[in-house]
């Protein structure tokens, strides 16, 4: 089967499952007894196994299979969760991650069998089983054999096809466990009416109905095949139930277009012994004989008139349960989302951009023609509101919560804790904050660097913390929230803070600054040195941080996303790194200004105020022009000088000053005239013309002319 077309989906879903496993195993570590967590882990591991198997990644499948075994034992209460086990599991996840990376890059899982891991997993299994060494090994082939040879419709059981289902060792042990718990094990064969069109849907409803009272252990054909409608008119199940057989059958029969449901009690011991007695060809018939000796209850036909115990929509818990028990049935019950290629969204976004440009053209054309008819204006206003909402909706479609990126951090911090031998805890908030998909994808690495930085450089060792009267366990915070047109992500720690003295000394040592420069450096400038390429204050180069490639990369990455980083630090109390990112990258509200004969756009997001300043109010500080504005001294930047254009304004006229801010810093940009506010579509100038740092892009105006967008951040 050609599975290459599913590769993308496989990779996507695998990442999701791995992420999910990471999270769940972390919480399992916190509360080892939580059944919900264990079930969730089991389900994710199972889905992974299924997917890897389908795609033909044998090694991945083997590893997940063994993980699944461990969880199934945990679920059955045969093994208790221990710290050592969690470690092994995390290593497994890393190994799986490696497989996934290999697949992503080479479409091949690589050759690492991860045998030590598999062995460790089996050791866990064996430990839990009281040293029954052979079981773990035997289990694997057994269970794999089960799905491999599904329905055997040719068996000699007539309608009672559930008798054909062969049980693997692990399933049998589950059955035994269930019987010991006082539950009953039934076999069911469900027949769908011949006229039924949506067989898979009916089957699904049957599954759901049964799962209200029972657990489905095995199905034949496999749940996946059933879901894909790869069955004739019937399918068989082995279930574990607390309810009576009649009730279960009635529930199943209650689903419409089900012709008949046959059921009977299954004795795992009997079928096991039968199978062992006749290992090869007689397999299908032997268990049958064993079955025939069973009580007549098996023959009891389901009452035709099903009790009116209607099965309404199963509660969430039941639905969840369904997911856990049905092998491969990992699709959500009601799928309200669609996976869309990001490129398609880009195209859509581009079209919306074009539309906005066209709208702007219409506005200026109507203004130019002078025929300002009310009807036209009304329609233009209407068009304007539609394009704006359209833009907003498309933008929202592209927005994803940062959760997908940050949810891997708790795990990372846990690992760091072990590696660094420090005690720390990560507190996250605002994971639901949404950002443009492209930004979310890119922001992971910088955040990881900052967190590592906090863990490695920021937090002190437990002893030092004790001495300083801080709690032994260091805290790292990751907060995300929206602030106007920006999203702020803050990484904070209650560690040592930044020792600016040490930073300056290091910078002198590295030849980044001279001792004289260091003398006059402000705290802020000193901190900014940290972002200098090739700077690292860690005394020992560890593999956590301190390779000197961290912070400058962080900064350039964030700037590439049109964002900025700010650092606040107090020696002895901790530091915080504030990342400010724009909500969207493609369309912004901007103030259009005239400078000389040229038009420029300034992003409204960075504009603080607009001031009218008399030439006499311009003062000089260190031979630089400044203005005083409400107790603040703000440097003036004459844009016409920076942009090499001639101002067409009389120097005696009042200055139009656009005050922009970047973090705490402000500057006044002197322009000739204000044109007005406009929604603009940002277009890249392209690589070829990227030399000009103060221009962040261009936009097409209503009249078809190109206006450049000034990057206020680089001007300050």
């Amino acid at each position: 089967m050609d599975v290459s077309q599913y590769l993308e989906i496989f990779l996507d879903e695998t990442s999701e499952h791995l992420q999910n496993l990471n999270t769940q195993i972390l919480s399992l570590e916190q509360e080892p007894g939580n059944m919900d967590t264990i079930n969730e882990i089991f389900r994710a591991a199972h889905s992974l196994k299924g997917m890897a198997g389908t795609m033909g990644y044998k090694r991945m499948q083997n590893l997940t299979h063994d993980m699944e075994n461990v969880f199934s034992e945990v679920r059955n209460g045969n093994i208790t969760v221990k710290a050592s086990m969690i470690d092994v599991l995390f290593q497994c996840l890393d190994a799986l991650e490696e497989y996934t990376t290999n697949i992503r890059e080479n479409a091949d899982e690589g050759t690492n069998d991860n045998e030590p891991l598999i062995k460790q997993l089996n050791d866990i299994l064996n430990g839990g089983d009281g040293g029954d060494g052979t079981e773990a090994a035997a289990e694997k082939p057994a269970e794999e054999a089960a799905p491999a040879s599904p329905a055997d419709n040719g068996g000699g059981h007539g309608d009672k096809k559930w008798l054909d289902i062969k049980l693997g060792d692990s399933e049998r042990s589950v059955l035994k466990g269930a019987i010991e718990e006082g539950k009953k094990v039934y076999g069911l064969t469900v027949k769908v009416q011949e006229s039924c069109i949506l067989k898979a849907a009916r089957a699904f409803l049957v599954f759901k109905a049964i799962e209200e009272t029972s657990e489905i252990l095995v199905s034949s054909p496999s749940a996946q095949d059933i879901e894909d409608e790869k069955f004739e008119l019937d399918f068989s199940l082995i279930i574990i139930s607390g309810a009576e057989l009649d009730q279960v059958i009635a529930a199943a029969k209650n689903v419409s277009e089900i012709e008949d449901v046959l059921g009977g009690v299954v004795d795992p011991d009997a079928s096991a012994s039968a199978e062992e007695a006749a290992p090869a060809k007689a397999e299908e018939t032997k268990p049958a004989e064993a079955e025939e000796t069973k009580p007549a209850e098996a023959e009891k036909p389901a009452p035709a008139a099903a009790p009116a115990a209607g099965k309404p929509a199963a509660p969430a818990a039941a639905a969840k349960k369904a997911d856990e028990k049905k092998p491969g049935a990992n699709k959500p019950v009601v799928n309200r989302t669609v996976r869309v290629d990001i490129e398609k969204l880009d195209t859509l976004m581009n079209l919306v951009s074009e539309l906005i440009i066209a709208k702007n053209s219409l506005v200026s054309a109507s203004a130019a023609s002078g025929t300002s008819s009310t009807a036209v204006n009304e329609q233009i206003e209407y068009l304007e509101s539609v394009t704006t909402s359209l833009h907003e909706s498309v933008m929202k479609v592209r927005m994803v919560p940062i959760e997908s990126t940050v949810s891997k951090f708790p795990r990372m911090v846990r690992d760091l804790q072990k590696k660094l031998g420090k005690k720390m805890e990560l507190y996250m908030s605002g994971e639901e904050t949404e950002l443009d998909r492209t930004v979310v994808d890119e922001i992971g690495d910088p955040l990881m660097h900052l967190l590592r930085n906090s863990a490695d450089h920021g937090l002190e060792s437990a002893e030092v913390r004790k001495e300083r009267g801080k709690p032994e366990v260091g805290s790292i915070f990751l907060d995300a929230y929206q602030d106007g047109n920006n999203v702020i992500i803050e990484v904070r720690d209650d560690g040592n803070g930044i020792d600016t003295e040490a930073v300056r000394n290091k910078a002198i040592e590295r030849g980044i600054i001279t001792p004289e420069q260091a003398e006059n450096m402000s705290e802020k400038d000193s901190i900014d040195l940290l972002f200098h390429a090739g700077f690292s204050t860690a005394k020992v180069v560890s593999d956590v941080s301190g390779r000197g490639v961290g912070l400058d990369v962080v900064k350039s990455k964030i700037e590439a996303l049109s964002g900025e980083v700010e650092v606040k630090s107090k020696l002895g109390e901790g530091s915080s790194w504030i990342i400010r990112l724009p909500l969207t990258l493609a369309i912004i509200q901007a103030l259009m200004v005239d400078i000389g004969n040229e038009k420029y756009a300034i992003s409204l997001g960075s504009i603080q105020t607009i001031e009218d300043i008399a030439p006499s109010d311009v003062k000089f500080v260190q031979a630089k022009e400044v203005i005083q504005l409400r107790d603040l001294v703000i440097p003036l930047i004459r844009l016409n000088e920076i942009l090499d254009v001639e101002s067409k304004k009389d120097p005696n006229d009042n200055l139009v000053v656009v005050v922009v801010k970047k973090g705490d810093k402000q500057a006044g940009l002197v322009v000739d005239e204000l044109i007005g506010q406009q929604e603009i579509v940002i277009k890249s100038l392209g690589k070829y013309i990227s030399k000009c740092k103060i221009i962040s892009g261009a936009t097409v105006l209503g009249d078809g002319e190109v206006a450049l967008i000034l990057d206020a951040n680089t001007l300050i």
Binding site: S353, I357, K683, L685, K687, I689, T699, E705, V706, L708
Partner: protein
């Protein structure tokens, strides 16, 4: 370029343009579009030969002056001035200003005299060969060296 000229089957088509009195040929496969002169938005703080950007059906495209790049007199905009939009693999889409677009010629490969390898060292040539046809000699532009950024 050289290898490409060799491998292109029998003939190559060139668009003949004029810069001053001289005729130049641009391989047609790199040409995306030819547009009339329009307002070019100047971009500050870039090399002089980069004249700015234009709007080509909603796309912002950089425009350069071959004349300034080649050290000729600056462009004088006339009625016949055109911007040729080139699509290059490395630099993407770029517009170049020419005085005039004359015609399309089809040159047999034996009508093309390739530049000797040594002349490649001379950065100011910007040529990859000379074409001979009825209209006289056409200098074939080596676009990669024309649009190459000044280091």
């Amino acid at each position: 370029m050289d290898t490409e000229l060799k491998t292109v089957s029998e003939t190559t088509q060139f668009i003949v343009i004029k810069l001053g009195d001289e005729q130049y040929g641009i391989d047609i496969k790199y040409i995306d579009n030819i547009v009339r002169m329009q307002h070019i938005t100047r971009v500050p703080k870039v090399d002089a030969y980069l004249k700015g950007v234009i709007n080509l059906r909603g796309e912002v495209i950089p425009v350069m002056s071959i004349r300034i790049k080649m050290g000729l007199e600056p462009d004088v905009e006339t009625k016949s001035s055109r911007i040729i939009i080139l699509k290059l693999e490395q630099q993407g889409t770029i517009g170049v200003i020419v005085d005039e677009v004359k015609e399309v010629v089809t040159l047999e490969n034996d009508q093309i005299e390739k530049m000797a390898y040594d002349s490649k060292d001379d950065k100011n040539t910007f040529l990859c060969g000379i074409g001979k046809c009825e209209g006289g000699l056409i200098s074939l532009l080596d676009l990669n060296s024309v649009v190459l950024e000044n280091v």
